[in-house]
């Protein structure tokens, strides 16, 4: 069975959940072979084995993570040339999509991005125009490269060997041209990553101010979820930009999405419409968000949201 390369998404050795989803998807397409870039593999090996990595190509050289994207592309291109895999799977994150794009150019291969499912023959399913259309696409030329949206495929364990093979690549000068001189970590607390979280609670214009986002955070924390914000809220400076859910922000696809004080303009819907279960609290009964919900409450969020938080905490 041909190998399917899976680029491991990790932060300082901590494997992101999307990687386990990619390994799960890779098993349908061939034999999963994870590709590890940077330090920290030893601590992650067990997890990759648990989710089905038959093999792991380990490129531990720190230089590969010192420049923007290009070194990972050169490593993957070399692995594709050496191992002739059936295809390459990556996470459809900002960086994952960029790696996919550059790799496609380097290999002159077809690439699909932001798919919500991938089937036999690397046929990708897309949810486009804010979830209104489901389209299927395939690659016509080269080694298929597919970037998969986090949270779209359920990760399932399937123990494998995770046999380690050290690999290295000699970088071109072009790959060293955009140097990362400092990584700045901004406060995030203990909450899960927005695009990976199983539960997301977002606040919008109705929240009315930065200080009131405490209500959203308390609700998110009661559920162990991430906090998001609509563009109206980030534009107003009530919540940091990297938490914006929507067309010009992040796309999320959690099991549960709770929209608080968000009207549901297309800008926002484009970023959350594929959430599995949607709940909304809004005082306007005509708010478009109610067209999407599984459960909605027309009411004052300052009453309903704290009561919900209290009730959830009581039931724990």
């Amino acid at each position: 069975m041909a190998e399917v390369l899976v680029l491991v998404d990790h932060v300082d050795g901590e494997v992101k959940k999307v990687t386990l989803e990619l390994l799960t998807a890779a098993r349908r397409l061939g034999e999963p072979a994870a590709v590890w870039v940077g330090p920290g593999f030893e601590g992650a090996k067990e997890k990759l084995a648990e989710y089905g990595a038959a093999k792991v190509y380990v490129a531990a050289d720190e230089e590969l993570t010192s420049y923007v994207v290009a070194p990972k592309v050169e490593l993957l291109a070399q692995l594709v040339a050496d191992k002739s895999p059936a295809g390459v799977l990556l996470a459809a994150t900002g960086e994952g999509k960029e790696i996919a794009g550059r790799l496609a150019v380097k290999l002159d291969s077809g690439v699909l991005t932001d798919v919500v499912d991938v089937a036999d023959g690397f046929v990708g399913e897309h949810s486009i125009f804010g979830g209104a259309i489901i389209a299927h696409a395939k690659v016509k030329r080269g080694t298929p490269i597919v970037a998969v949206r986090p949270n779209a495929i359920a990760a399932e364990p399937a123990p494998a060997a995770a046999a380690e093979e050290q690999v290295s690549v000699t970088l071109s000068d072009a790959a060293r041209s955009a140097k990362i001189v400092e990584k700045v970590v901004q406060e995030k607390g203990e909450r899960p990553d927005l695009t990976e979280a199983a539960i997301v609670v977002s606040g919008g214009r109705g929240v009315g101010g930065a200080e009131n986002f405490k209500i959203i955070e308390d609700l998110a924390d009661s559920l162990g979820g991430a906090v998001g914000a609509s563009r109206a809220a980030t534009d107003a400076g009530w919540y940091p930009h990297q938490f914006q859910v929507g067309q010009t922000g992040k796309t999320v696809s959690p099991q549960l999405y709770i929209a608080v004080g968000i009207s549901g303009a297309i800008q926002h819907r484009a970023g959350m419409q594929t959430s599995k279960t949607i709940v909304a609290i809004n005082k306007d009964p005509d708010a478009p968000i109610f067209e999407l919900v599984d459960f909605g409450v027309v009411g004052d969020l300052f009453q309903v949201a704290p009561q919900l938080t209290e009730e959830i905490n009581k039931r724990k």
Partner: protein
């Protein structure tokens, strides 16, 4: 400094968007066309850099005749001139083909800096800026929330999941911007009038040295094989708060095993 801003005309997200059933490509006649929103931030950043460092801002777009609307808007905001790559042979190009076509034009017109929005609101692939950097062999300074230039040195802040990276490179380079970077200006009346006199060069595939078999639907390396409207969501339950709205949501969440 010679700055080229790549802009894309996209269907207005407020109007209905469709695919065509004959070739599964975007139906550009179905909706009003507007400049891709993030590209307005790219134009603004180009204008700010020009105001600080001098030089010239060229708008480059690939798209049908109608895309002149987006060119006019960019010129009215303050760009100096425009290049419009328009040819039936380009219709249906995927990101790979599009990046090749734009690379060919950039090679002809020259640049110190190429700026783009980080993704478009229609295809949303988020790949084109990185693909261009790969093809042009220049530094990739993408997903930027801040850009500083000093001589030939360029520094950006690149948005990441954990915050941002500080990235340094030397011009020429490809930059893509996120919405946080600035606040795009509105064209003034004077700007709109001036835009009418600014030069717009129209190029076809042959003029730009583009090999026609590498672009368009046939030259693309990926294809949409089918599409359908997503099944409508089942109508949800909506209640009016009578003092127990929070409790009712908790009960719903419990029924779905979330709590």
């Amino acid at each position: 400094m010679n700055i080229v801003v790549c802009v894309k005309q996209v269907p207005d997200t407020e109007s209905p968007r469709k695919l065509k059933s004959d070739d599964n490509t975007l139906d550009r006649g179905a909706a009003d066309g507007v400049i891709n929103e993030l590209d307005e931030y790219a134009i603004e950043e180009a204008l700010l850099l020009k105001e600080a460092h001098g030089g010239e801002v060229t708008v480059l777009t690939m798209g049908p005749d109608k895309a002149t609307d987006s060119i006019r808007k960019a010129l009215a905001m303050g760009a100096d001139k425009a290049v419009h790559l328009v040819d039936d042979a380009l219709a249906g190009s995927d990101a790979l083909g599009t990046s090749y076509a734009i690379q060919q034009v950039l090679g002809r017109i020259g640049f110190d800096l190429v700026i783009l929005g980080s993704e478009s609101t229609d295809a949303r692939t988020g790949m084109l800026p990185a693909m261009l950097a790969e093809r042009l062999g220049v530094p990739q300074l993408t997903l930027s929330s801040k850009v500083e230039i000093d001589g030939s040195a360029i520094k950006v802040q690149r948005i990441t999941d954990y915050g941002y990276d500080k990235v340094e490179a030397t011009l020429p380079a490809v930059v893509s911007v996120v919405e946080k970077i600035n606040e795009p200006r509105y064209p003034s009346f004077k700007g709109i009038m001036a835009a009418k006199k600014k030069p717009v060069e129209t190029l076809g595939v042959a003029d730009a040295g583009i090999e026609a078999d590498k672009v368009g639907l046939a030259g693309s390396a990926s294809e949409v094989v089918d599409f359908a409207e997503a099944p409508p969501r089942a109508k949800g339950q909506i209640v009016t708060d009578e003092g127990d709205g929070g409790v009712k949501i908790a009960e719903f969440l419990a029924s779905k095993k979330f709590v």
